[in-house]
């Protein structure tokens, strides 16, 4: 088994099937060797994981939400690879992660929350998983979700 899939197995992570978007867009778009993944909101039991950092959630809970988004993003990324007759082994580089953290005006640990996503990507994809990133606080997210993360990935051509 490849290192990516054996790592997922060791971590007992099962990638979900691609989710149906909540609105008029696609979960991902392939352009040349790049895959643009739509913003994925955190989910709990199939619905939006509602919460705001600094109000109803703390940093550790936010990290768990960000980690769950990373798993959903990898599920979508796998589907994108499969649409090209490939799998996650085709990933050349996680290029960019952008993380929107539903925050009060007092919460300043968006970077630590987002580590919940970044650290899992690094563990699964190793050097290929190291990425550029922005993380910031947003006043609210679709359906009240606590975290939304989008990603740009380069595939082997």
């Amino acid at each position: 088994m490849s290192s990516i899939y054996s790592t997922l197995e060791r971590l007992q992570i099962t990638l979900p099937p691609i989710a149906k978007p909540a609105a008029a867009y696609q979960p991902y778009c392939v352009s040349g060797s790049m895959v643009y993944l739509s913003g994925h909101i955190a989910k709990k039991e199939g619905a939006a994981w509602v919460g705001q950092l600094g109000l109803t959630m703390n940093t550790q809970e936010g990290q768990a939400a960000a980690k769950s988004v990373a798993i959903d993003l990898m599920g979508t990324l796998q589907a994108a690879c499969q649409s090209l007759g490939k799998d996650l082994e085709a990933v050349k580089k996680i290029v960019k992660v952008t993380s929107l953290v539903n925050s009060t005006a007092q919460f300043t640990q968006q970077h630590l929350v987002t580590n919940g996503c970044s650290e899992l990507l690094a563990e699964v994809f190793q050097a290929k998983g190291l990425h550029a990133r922005s993380a910031f606080g947003v006043v609210q997210l679709p359906m009240g979700a606590c975290v939304e993360i989008e990603m740009i990935v380069e595939l082997e051509s």
Copy 2:
């Protein structure tokens, strides 16, 4: 007439000329076969369309604003194509839409607001108009605008 321009005519949409940016940047930047369009704020009668979702505007009004931004974005995209001796028929794919919705901390329908833009792009560009997307709530926008949308587009090479 091409399907894109006949659809615009059927919808009675006239694309505006490219707008002069309000600050020290360009309306778009071409890089290889990609066009990066700057964040376009919603406008009404030539000025910023001022408002905040959840306070002074409802979802339906926000959708109208997002639709108007889509028209302005298509005007800028057409100018980008023309700078290369082409027109909107050169669009290979609307790759990514990022939508910033001026929101209160209680408003959670940024995805529905943004459909005002996404649905028009899909109607005009058909399969080429289906895109990856992120939508989120921002605490405020330049000049008090209610919506700002940016876009990445791939052209036929």
Copy 3:
């Protein structure tokens, strides 16, 4: 001396060495001829430049912060170029700037704040420094920083 480095010297700007990220990500990621620079927060004396526009900082102070971020971004960009055996002369185009301004719900001059970054890029890189851009207000930023800016740059191949 090249025009870029002579301009930096004339402006008495010394580019800083690349900063260690505050979390689990990289300062930049190279993908083909593109460099994606992570969101860089404004800093003062090595720590986060804490503040909120409309509350503890005015537009002019925000512009100074945005200008300081532009200098840090150029330092990181130079390091990215050096990792490829090049220097800032290898820049083909500053493609896209995204600027997150820590704002109250009343502050509406994010575009003017961001000019502090955009105008310096245009002065240093001239026509190559003209870029697409989005600027918007965020409710809070990592470590309480007043401004965070990310950038996409195309290098000569």
